[in-house]
């Protein structure tokens, strides 16, 4: 286990070394390459200038010839008229420093001539750069590191070989002598300029061998000669001290780091008693302190990283072996941790350097600083005593850290300020969490975290620091989630006191949040990157702030908590009113872009709607006055919401929910109260209320100004809402009633009443229509006409059987056409009734064609016979056809909004009226006669029908009728010959033949009489 840990640490160490070294080398290489490139470019420029000067002197070099052959792209004329242009010869090429490749052909020629410039011009590829970095890394560092390791191993092997012949003590001395020799050599070589680096590698070997000798003399069998543990520790201490000395005297941080790392690894292998721990902590501390010398940031990072690794390793080794930390262990651990980490953390403050704030080293410093804090957190967590007073310490630490952050701010080290501010925030949050040790309730802790997070957010906004804001907002929102969940978990409706207390705390939290959030100023910074996007998500650019949303959730929770209290309606209403006042004040006085009220709106809507869930299951049929008392505060609050915005004439947000909620309350109130007397009452009352709403809307709109018109519109829409409620209620409740009042079906009376209300909506308010804009009203209001038609059809369908419906549809068609035709000027909306008349005409024709004979009911009266009704309908439909052909114009009707598609149908019916209007009736009539009467006289009946059609063709002067009549007559004559002649009785045959003959003569005389009309 120990060896595995050592192996891991070695790997980690090597990796860190490699990484840091690679990064630094890479940077250096890049800098070098950049410089080189610049110098090369300037070299190329010089070269070009030189060439130009040579050319200008008339020297016919190859380069000059190349120039002649290769025209300059920007001026072809120059190459062609070179001799004619003295400027070309006398002036240098216009090579710009900002555009060095403006004349590529020329450059290529020049560079190719000079040869050496090719390599300079060619940019190194990414792979070659990587190879170059790897090569340098290998040569400069890894040869040294591996060489040291191999040499140490070789010496060790040599020592082992020779040691086999020696006693352990002499083996130790031998190793020590080897270390001394190497060390001496290193000091000697360090004086020589070219060997300095090698000298430090040798010194590293020396230190390693010496430490190994000391360690082996106490712990490795074969070399171990010290039996006493104390003496062994002293010896190891001496080895460590030597390495520390070497580290202190090292010229570069990599060498210092090797010595410190070796010391820590050695100590980690030893049994983890207090002296070893103290020594290890001292080594880490020394590592940090030494780095102060030249502000070795990597050295500090390595020290704290090694130390935290050591701490973790030690903790798990000891706890794994069943060791229980004593108080001394804990305090020592805390002390050591604080000593190492605080000295590391302080470095950025004490060693203030211009590099701290430079962007180049920003990330390394940030990572290093965070690692220090992380080391402190791990160490303190391992040795935490679990005492209550830790909370106070944490709060103090948070304050101190915040103070440090302020120092960084003063010194203008922004990254340090941000880092420590966030650390302070983390410590403070953890401090609040530890309040559970004080037996504080989770809900309260969550609330405190929320408050703290809000203050932190406020600080970020105050400082106008977007980076801090990006951290602060999620923390605040998460704390809000914690508050919500903890409050929900704590719900106990049997514990009224708890409910009230928690509700009150939440309300205070809401007010506090609004107070803090209300004057927030939006931080606008230039970045359009991801940071901006993240912030936009959280703060919604004034559209939907998640904080507001959370206040809404909090308030809903308050509502749930207080819902069990019967008097809560008053309380909730008061809260709403106060919040609305605050909202309006905030809007008008503080900041136009602050709290846009969505959270408040959410709360208001949800609390009002859920209120009925409380009333509904528990208070079915409550006494009206009791229900009214319960609902009164809500009526008042919704009225206030509706009225306030009208008063200040600016705020449109709350008007809609205000009026809407008032309408919903009124609707449900009516429902619950009237249901108590009869389930059929709500619908009728709703219809009356809709009319009153219409009148109120009209009254508001009459004031004329824009806000009033807008408010009136909203009232109007919610008056429509009552109509919609009636329709639903009618379908699911009222349709089933079979009750009679005053000898009339109640269902029919309700339907007639609704038709009259719809008619009022349709006809009453031309002025309202003038004031209204937008497609919604324009589409809805005209549809009352269709509602009237639909309700009338439903009424008839429920009251009459199929055969009567045929007659009603025909009458309806005629009536609809009359309405559309005669009132089209007074009420243009009615003009489309003509089209509906045609639709009804179709339905009636369909009925007589297919249904009249199969829906026959037992009846005694002559007038109840289906065929009688069918004939009457036929006559009516024929009248409609004549009327249609003579004076009905469907295309001039009004087809608003969603009904605009009807215009196409109307056009089609007008253009092709023969096929779409007349032919259906002709076919329906023929089928009606076929199915309704004895087939023996069918031919005669058909010829009667043909005669009538022929007559119609004269009346309306429509050639199609005549042609159709003649075609049908041909068919009838064929039937007369092939059916009647063979199958009818003699009597019937006679009657039919006589009848058909007379009719044909009649047609002939009509034709001769009105010949002029057949066009």
């Amino acid at each position: 286990m120990e060896y595995f840990a050592i192996f891991l640490i070695v790997i980690l160490f090597i990796w860190v070394l490699t990484l840091s070294s690679t990064v630094s080398k890479l940077k250096r290489d890049l800098e070098f390459l950049e410089k080189k490139e610049k110098s090369d470019i300037s070299g190329v420029h010089n070269l070009i200038n030189h060439l130009q000067s040579v050319e200008s002197q008339g020297t016919q070099t190859g380069a000059a010839q190349e120039v002649e052959k290769t025209p300059v792209p920007s001026s072809n004329a120059r190459s062609e008229t070179q001799s004619a242009e003295p400027t070309y010869e006398n002036k240098p090429y216009p090579v710009s420093t900002t555009a060095p490749v403006a004349t590529p052909a020329l450059q290529q020629g020049s560079i190719a001539e000079k040869g050496e410039a090719i390599a300079i011009k060619k940019n190194p590829s990414a792979s070659s750069l990587k190879w170059s970095a790897f090569e340098k890394q290998l040569i400069e560092n890894w040869t040294g590191i591996l060489g040291s390791v191999i040499l140490t191993a070789g010496l060790s092997f040599l020592g082992v070989l020779s040691a086999l012949a020696l006693t352990p003590f002499f083996r130790f001395l031998m190793l020590l002598a080897a270390a001394t020799a190497v060390g001496a050599l290193s000091y000697y070589l360090a004086r020589l300029d070219n060997w300095k680096k090698f000298a430090f590698w040798l010194r590293g070997i020396s230190g390693a061998v010496a430490l190994f000798a000391c360690f082996a003399s106490a712990a490795i069998p074969g070399i171990q000669w010290v039996e006493s543990q104390s003496l062994g520790l002293v010896l190891i201490g001496a080895g460590v001290a030597l390495n520390l000395f070497f580290a202190y005297t090292a010229s570069r941080q990599i060498f210092a780091s090797i010595h410190l790392f070796l010391s820590l690894v050695t100590l980690a292998v030893l049994p983890q008693q207090m002296p070893v721990y103290a020594l290890a902590s001292f080594v880490a501390l020394a590592g940090v302190v030494f780095s102060y010398k030249s502000f070795w940031i990597h050295q500090t990072l390595l020290s704290t990283l090694s130390y935290v690794t050591y701490q973790v390793y030690r903790y798990f080794i000891l706890t794994g072996s069943g060791y229980v930390f004593t108080d001394v262990d804990r305090y020592a651990g805390i002390g050591a941790t604080l000593a190492v980490t605080l000295s590391a953390i302080s470095m950025h403050y004490i060693k203030t350097d211009i590099r701290n704030s430079s962007s180049q080293n920003y990330r390394v410093h940030l990572v290093s600083h965070l690692m220090h804090w992380f080391t402190a957190a791990i160490g303190l967590a391992f040795y935490a005593t679990g005492e209550r007073y830790v909370t106070l310490i944490l709060f103090l630490t948070a304050l101190l850290t915040y103070a440090l952050a302020r120092v960084a701010k003063k010194k203008s080290i922004l990254w340090l300020y941000r880092t420590d501010l966030m650390v302070a925030q983390s410590i403070a949050l953890y401090g609040i969490v530890t309040l559970y040790r004080w037996e504080m309730d989770v809900f309260w802790i969550a609330c405190m975290i929320n408050v703290e997070a809000l203050l932190f957010l406020r600080l970020a906004l105050f400082e106008k620091d977007p980076v801090i804001e990006v951290f602060a907002r999620p923390i605040h929102l998460l704390s809000g989630v914690a508050v919500l969940f903890s409050a929900i978990a704590a719900i106990d409706h049997d514990n009224t006191r708890l409910m009230v207390t928690n509700g009150a705390v939440l309300i205070i939290l809401v007010y506090f949040t609004i107070f803090i959030n209300r004057s927030r100023s939006m931080v606008n910074f230039e970045s359009n990157g991801r940071l901006q996007e993240i912030l936009n998500f959280f703060r919604g650019k004034g559209k939907l702030d998640l904080i507001e949303l959370f206040t809404g959730f909090f308030l809903i929770l308050v509502h749930i908590l207080l819902l069990s209290l019967y008097q809560s309606s008053l309380m909730i209403a008061l809260i709403q009113i106060s919040l609305i006042l605050l909202f309006i004040y905030d809007r008008k006085k503080v900041h136009t872009e602050s709290t846009s009220g969505y959270g408040l709106m959410l709360f208001i809507v949800v609390s009002h709607l859920t209120l009925w869930l409380y009333v509904s299951p528990t208070g079915i049929n409550p006494p009206m006055m009791q229900l009214l008392a319960f609902m009164l505060p809500f009526f008042v609050s919704t009225l206030l919401i509706s009225v306030f915005p009208v008063l200040n004439l600016k705020e449109p947000i709350l008007r809609l929910p205000g009026i809407g909620l008032f309408s919903i309350h009124l609707l449900l109130f009516i429902f619950f109260v009237t249901m108590h007397f009869s389930p059929l009452l709500p619908g009728v009352v709703w219809l009356m209320v809709s009319l009153i709403g219409l009148e109120i809307a009209y009254g508001i709109m009459k004031k004329g100004s824009r806000p009033y018109v807008d408010a009136g519109k909203i009232v109007l829409y919610f008056a429509l809402f009552f109509i919609a409620a009636f329709l639903i209620h009618h379908v699911v409740v009222e349709l089933q009633t079979e009750f009679y009042i005053l000898g009339m079906p109640l269902r029919m009376l309700i339907q007639l009443f609704s038709i009259s209300v719809f008619a009022y909506w349709l006809f009453s308010h031309p002025r309202v229509q003038e004031n209204l804009e937008g497609p919604l009203w324009g589409s809805i209001q005209p549809l009352f006409l269709e509602s009237i038609i639909a309700m009338t059809v439903v009424l008839l369908e429920f009251q009459f059987t199929q055969k009567w419906m045929t007659l009603f549809f025909a009458l309806f068609a005629m009536g609809a056409m009359a309405l559309g035709q005669f009132w089209k000027r007074s009420y243009p909306n009615l003009s489309r009734m003509k089209l509906y008349g045609v639709f009804m005409y179709y339905v009636a024709a369909f009925h007589i064609a297919f249904l009249s004979t199969v829906t026959e009911m037992p009846a005694n009266h002559f007038m109840e016979q289906s065929w009688v009704i069918g004939l009457i309908v036929e006559m009516l439909l024929t009248g409609i056809v004549v009327w249609f052909y003579r004076s009905i114009r469907l295309e001039e009707a009004v087809y608003p909004g969603v009904l605009s598609f009807l215009r196409k149908i109307a056009g089609l019916l007008t253009i092709k009226r023969n096929h779409w209007v007349f032919d259906p009736l002709f076919i329906a009539s023929a089928l009606f006669l076929y199915w309704s009467f004895d087939h023996a006289i069918l031919t005669l009946l058909w010829v009667v029908m043909i005669f009538i059609v022929f007559g119609l063709s004269i009346v309306i002067r429509e050639g199609h009728f005549r042609i159709l009549a003649l075609m049908a007559l041909a068919f009838a004559l064929a039937r007369l010959i092939f059916f009647d002649l063979s199958q009818s009785s003699l009597t019937m045959r006679a009657i039919v033949f006589v009848g058909v003959g007379i009719l044909m003569l009649g047609m002939n005389s009509l034709y001769n009489r009105f010949k002029g009309r057949f066009v």
Partner: protein, 294 residues
């Protein structure tokens, strides 16, 4: 213009108040808190009408249906239950009721031995009635209402509609194909208009009772007997169940024909109608012996 508007508004509001007052005074109740059954019945009408038109244009007529009915009658005649007296009584009653029809073929009344109270009709004029129904009806008027309802199914071609493709296909020797087509059509459409068909058959029975010598109260009473036997459902089913229900709620049917009779009797205070209590007991139809019900 404004005056006219205010007059109209006042008139509507007064009418609304009056209507509300009447509802309040009468304390009108409904069988179910909320139900879509009447709406489904209404929506089923246009579908049923189109379905009827389809039957009309097929090359089948009452003669084809009568032939089909003969086949069915011969197949089910051996299952005719009850006593001979019962059989004769039901047959006579069905024949009497069918006289009001237009189909023109002979109806057959059969008894199915079952304690359940039920009746059903098959194409071609075969009407089944269970012995349970026969024994639980209190008067011949009630039984006549039930049988008229079943005759109504035949007369209004509900039965024919369900086998039309089979009958049409039989003419060209592809009856199985026709059966398949009927099955498909019934699966697709029948649920949408089955309640409408029941309503039409109820209406047929009501029309028959009105023009016969029976009391129209028979229909409401028949539903009341069924309701007593099977109990009220109390609350309406969910929307899907209501759609797939084959019959309207008994509560609604009973209420409908009870109130209709009340209105009818108010319009015909002096009209004497018979119930035929004794006729039913003695299995002698009212047409054969009106004196049993003085």
């Amino acid at each position: 213009m404004n005056l006219l508007r205010y007059i109209f508004l006042s008139a509507i509001l007064i009418a609304g108040f009056f209507l509300s007052y009447m509802i309040y005074r009468e304390e009108v109740k409904v069988p179910f808190g909320a139900t879509l059954a009447p709406a489904f019945q209404l929506l089923g009408r246009p579908i049923k009408n189109v379905d009827r038109a389809l039957t009309q244009v097929l090359p089948i007529d009452s003669l084809d249906e009568a032939r089909y009915g003969d086949v069915i009658y011969r197949r089910y005649k051996p299952y005719n239950g009850g006593t001979q007296e019962d059989q004769a009584y039901v047959q006579r009653l069905v024949e009497t009721i069918s006289l009001s029809g237009k189909k023109g073929f002979t109806y057959h009344g059969l008894i199915l031995d079952s304690a359940e109270m039920n009746a059903f009709a098959l194409p071609g004029g075969v009407v089944f009635v269970t012995s349970g129904l026969l024994h639980n009806m209190h008067s011949e008027a009630e039984l006549a209402a039930v049988l008229a309802h079943e005759v109504g199914h035949v007369e209004l071609s509900h039965c024919l509609d369900s086998v039309r493709f089979e009958i049409a296909a039989r003419k060209i020797g592809t009856a199985p194909l026709g059966e398949l087509a009927d099955l498909a059509m019934n699966l697709m459409l029948r649920h949408s208009y089955s309640k409408t068909q029941e309503e039409e058959a109820d209406e047929y029975a009501w029309s028959f009772l009105k023009q016969s010598s029976y009391s129209p109260e028979g229909e409401g009473l028949a539903f009341a007997r069924l309701l007593k036997r099977y109990g009220t459902s109390g609350t309406a089913s969910n929307v899907v169940s209501e759609y797939f229900k084959s019959h309207p709620y008994l509560e609604l049917r009973e209420a409908r024909y009870r109130t209709r009779f009340q209105e009818w009797i108010a319009d015909h205070p002096n009209e004497e109608r018979k119930y035929g209590y004794k006729n039913l007991q003695e299995r002698t139809t009212l047409a054969d012996d009106p004196s049993l019900d003085p």
